[in-house]
Structure formats: C-alpha cells, structure tokens
C-alpha cells in the first residue's frame, strides 16, 4: 500500500535575482520518516524549507502539504517549524518562555479566542517534553542558545503537529547538548510518530539518526535510506561539494558545531 505523502514537491524551482537557488526538485516526505537534508552552504536547503512552508513562492513547480496545494493549505497546527532562531531572534524581547511556547498554539485556536488555563497546561506539557519546565517563568533572552532552541522546539510541538521541520537547529548549541538533542528528536520520531525533516551540516551525525537522507545542491543528488547514504562515498561528496571533504565523524562534527 502506498500512503499519501505529507509533503509533495514536483519540479520545484526558485530563482533569487537571476540565479536559480533551487532547481527541478522532486521531493516527497512520508509519514513516520526522519529525513535529514544535507548539502553545502548556499545549496538552497533553507530556501527549499521556505518554499515548503509557503514563506516563499516557487517560480516553477507545485507544492502540496497534506494533499492540499500550498496556497490553499490551512491546517497549520499540523506543522511545526524550528528555524535558526538561536542566531536571529530579538533576544531583548520581553517575553517569558511560557508566553513564547503558548504562541505556538495560535494556529490551533482560531480568531477571537483567548489563552486559557488549558493552553497554559498544554504549554507546560510541551516544555516538559524538552525538559525545560522549570524555566517557564524565565525571560527567553536570558537562556543559553541550547535552552532557547529547546523552547522553540516546545513551541513547534505544542500544537501536536504530525510534521516538524527544523532548519539547522544545532547551530549555536554547545556540543554536549547536541547528543541530547538528537536523542530527543529520535524519541519524537519513534515514540510519538512525528515525521521530521531536519536541515543540517552535520552529515556524520544525521546519518546515524535519520531514517532517510536527502543531499542537495540546488537540485537533489541523493535521496534514500540512511544506510545507503553511508555507501555514498567521498568521491561522490567531492563532486557534490566541489572540493575535498570527508564524512564527518561524530566528535569532529561536534567541534564543527562549536566553531559555528
């Protein structure tokens, strides 16, 4: 039995100024997958995510979410998104962790409804999942990068999504927390059955955790099970990245994260 894909991209291309950033991408994501999206800098990974979420419009091709064309899609509570927030959000923003997580419920609530006690409890539950419940009353800007990232994951989880998309969530997170972070993702995927799509530089680690790997550089060069990706050897990678690289080992990749 072939199930319906959650995300379906057909021949999607996107141009920035005059250059193609994403070209002829066909990509389907099925329920239960943990998909790692890897590729060199500027390979269009983040743009692909933006297209998938309707934050940018493709110049060509079609995108469907849960079977609906992206323009008509409105079940946003089914989709959680964690962006590279550790680098980019206004850390002086006067909001508590609880307020930030509750804002993840807006997609589920509809217009003219107010935050109530049950929403608070839901948010605390999501914070518990990421082991941040004791920080509920803290100001978001006072937390470390890793803690903030956990809060943003809680915000993505609070609406009980079936698909969570993460854009380089480990950037700015210290090495010792990265392992715990992957364990958390594995748990979400296996125990709660949440479909995951994660953009990362960390090729070595993602292949150990994800069920599938997609490797792109403007277009898709590899899409398959993680085990097969490990066979995808250094020569293929060199061709893809255009220079010499080695598959990152576990420890090495942590240093990489530290430096960035």
């Amino acid at each position: 039995m072939k199930q319906k894909p959650m995300v379906e991209m057909e021949q999607v291309s996107f141009k920035y100024e005059k250059e193609w950033v994403v070209k002829d991408v066909d990509l389907s994501i099925y329920e239960g997958q943990f998909l790692g999206l890897v590729g060199p800098n500027g390979s269009g990974k983040s743009t692909l995510i933006k297209l998938m979420l309707g934050l940018a419009r493709p110049d060509r091709g079609s995108i469907r979410l849960f079977g609906e064309p992206i323009k008509k899609f409105d079940q946003w509570e089914e989709v959680g998104f964690v962006s590279q927030k550790a680098n980019s959000f206004n850390s002086g923003f006067p909001a508590t962790v609880l307020e930030v997580v509750k804002s993840g419920l807006v997609s589920r609530m509809g217009a003219f409804s107010f935050f109530k006690r049950k929403h608070k409890e839901k948010a605390l539950e999501a914070l518990k999942t990421v082991e941040m419940e004791e920080f509920a009353g803290s100001n978001i800007g006072e937390l470390s990068g890793g803690q903030q990232q956990r809060v943003f994951i809680a915000r993505a989880l609070v609406s009980d999504p079936s698909l969570v998309i993460l854009d380089e969530p480990t950037v700015g997170v210290d090495a010792k927390h990265v392992t715990a972070f992957y364990d958390l993702l594995g748990k979400l995927n296996k125990e709660q059955g949440i479909t995951l799509l994660m953009v990362t530089h960390d090729i070595g680690t993602i292949t150990n955790h994800a069920t599938h790997v997609v490797c792109m550089n403007k277009s898709i060069h590899f899409h398959g099970a993680s085990e097969d990706y490990k066979e995808f050897d250094d020569d293929d990678l060199n061709e893809l990245y255009g220079h010499s690289v080695h598959q990152l080992t576990h420890n090495h990749s942590h240093d990489e994260v530290n430096r960035s």
Partner: protein, 285 residues
C-alpha cells in the same frame, strides 16, 4: 488644582483625555517598540501636524468652515499617512525604513507651506506643538474616549495575533495569522492614538509618551504582559504628575509629561544598576 478641576470644564477635559491617552499610548507603544517601529510614531505625529495646518488654513480661507475641530483633520492625515507608509514599504522592499523619513519630511514640508499660507504661527499652533491644558474641548474628549475603548477592545481581541507577529513574523505566517491585515489594523490604531494624544502632549512629544514608558518597563519586566502593565503604569504616572505640574508652573504639559517620563526612565536604569551591584556584592561575601 483639585479645586479648579471641580470648577473648570476645560481642566476636566484635559485631565480625562490625559488619563485615557496615558493608557492607550503606552499600550500600543509596547508593540511599536518591540517591533522596532519607534520612528513610525514620529512620522505619523508630523503628518498629523500637516492635517492641523490644513484645517487651520481652510478655516481661514473658506468662510463656511469656522468651527471645525482641527483634530479631526489631523486624524484623517495621520491615518492616510499610515496607509501611505505601508504602501511605500512595499515599493522599497530592501529599504523598508526609507518610508518613514519620506513621510516625515514630506509631512513637515507640506505643513510649513500650509502654516505660512494660514499666516504663520499663532497660539493655537503652539498648543498643538507642545500640548495644552486648556485646548481640549468636550467633543474631542468624547472622541478620545471612543478611540480609547476601541483600541483596548481590538488589542484584547487580537492579543495573540499581535504577540506572534511582534515576536516572530515568520512563525505568525505559518500559524495562519494574516500579517497584512493585523499590521494595517495596528498602524491605523497608532495613527488615531497619535492624533488623540496630540492635544494634551503636543505633536512633537507624542512619540515620547508611546516609547519612554515602554523603555522604562523593559528594564524591569520579564514577561510581555508585565511589560504592558508597567508601561501603562509609567505612562499614567507621567500624565498625572505632568498635568499637575504643568498647571502649577504654567508651562505646556508636553514638556512636563515627557520630563516626568524621562525621570522615571532614569530611575529604572539606576534601580537596575544598584540591584546588579548588590547582587555582585552578595555573591562576593
């Protein structure tokens, strides 16, 4: 002042209007500050002046119009300016902030021409620039009351959308929040509140009442709701102390209200500093 307050209607008008804007100006100010839009308040207050000038000129030249309240024309200009800024932001996608100086200087430019055509500065205009405790009449007090209630109701109704949009626009978009609609609603509210506040605080100082109490609150608060609460508390305190001293010192309330707000800001900064030093000392011992 209390005695005169019972006696004179103009004082009642000024105090009631002051108390109302002491709530709504900082309330909207919180969203303005966290979205880094502080300069929009300045641009809109200047275009309000253009509206006032246009109204004064019309009053002078067209004999049929003699009892117009210039505040209404100010509101029309302010709202039109707000919509224009939104348009311009789309024209200059990569330089969105350019819209603000364009409207601000365009507003003043036109304003200066209209003012001289209306035979230059007079006391009326002076009170619009720096506020006045005598200039608020009953009808504009009612208008401000109406606007205040409307703004509070809209902020309560759209609180979660306004919060999401302020904290993270991308997230708002994937939460199904219509950013464009909420933003337009918001900026029109700002325009109306600026025009309302103008009579008491004055055009040149309106934006201060929207930003200074928030600047103080940011030093002290941890949560968004607390920021709103403290901003309103500081705004209201500034208005009350400011109006009182304005009356007794016979200076425009704009000056005294804003200076009270500055004083509160300095106090919060010092409080934070002392608190930090005590904390360091406490850790050392």
């Amino acid at each position: 002042m209390i005695e005169s307050l019972m006696q004179y209607q103009f004082l009642q008008n000024a105090v009631i209007t002051g108390l109302l804007i002491g709530v709504v100006a900082p309330l909207l100010g919180v969203f303005i500050v966290v979205r880094r839009l502080s300069l929009i308040a300045d641009a809109l207050s200047h275009i309000t002046l253009t509206g006032i000038a246009a109204s004064l000129l019309l009053e002078k030249r067209v004999s049929a119009i003699n009892d117009w309240n210039p505040v209404y024309m100010g509101m029309v200009f302010s709202v039109a300016g707000a919509i224009l800024i939104e348009r311009l932001r789309k024209v200059y996608k990569h330089y969105e902030e350019l819209a603000i100086p364009i409207i601000l200087s365009g507003g003043i430019g036109l304003g200066v021409i209209l003012i001289s055509l209306a035979d230059g500065f007079n006391t009326d205009l002076f009170s619009y620039l720096f506020g006045s405790v005598t200039a608020v009449d009953r009808s504009s007090m009612w208008t401000v009351l109406f606007i205040t209630l409307g703004v509070i109701a809209i902020v309560i109704l759209f609180y979660k959308e306004l919060f999401v949009l302020s904290f993270d626009e991308e997230h708002a978009s994937i939460s199904g929040v219509s950013g464009r609609f909420i933003h337009l609603l918001f900026i029109v509210m700002v325009a109306l509140v600026i025009a309302s506040s103008m009579q008491v605080v004055g055009i040149l100082l309106v934006s201060a009442l929207m930003t200074l109490p928030v600047a103080s609150a940011l030093r002290l608060s941890r949560s968004f709701k607390q920021t709103i609460g403290l901003s309103i508390l500081f705004g209201e305190t500034s208005v009350i102390i400011g109006l009182f001293s304005s009356y007794h010192l016979s200076v425009p309330p704009g000056g005294t209200i804003v200076m009270t707000a500055v004083l509160i800001l300095v106090m919060t900064i010092m409080y934070k500093r002392v608190q930090k030093q005590l904390l360091v000392k406490g850790e050392a011992t």
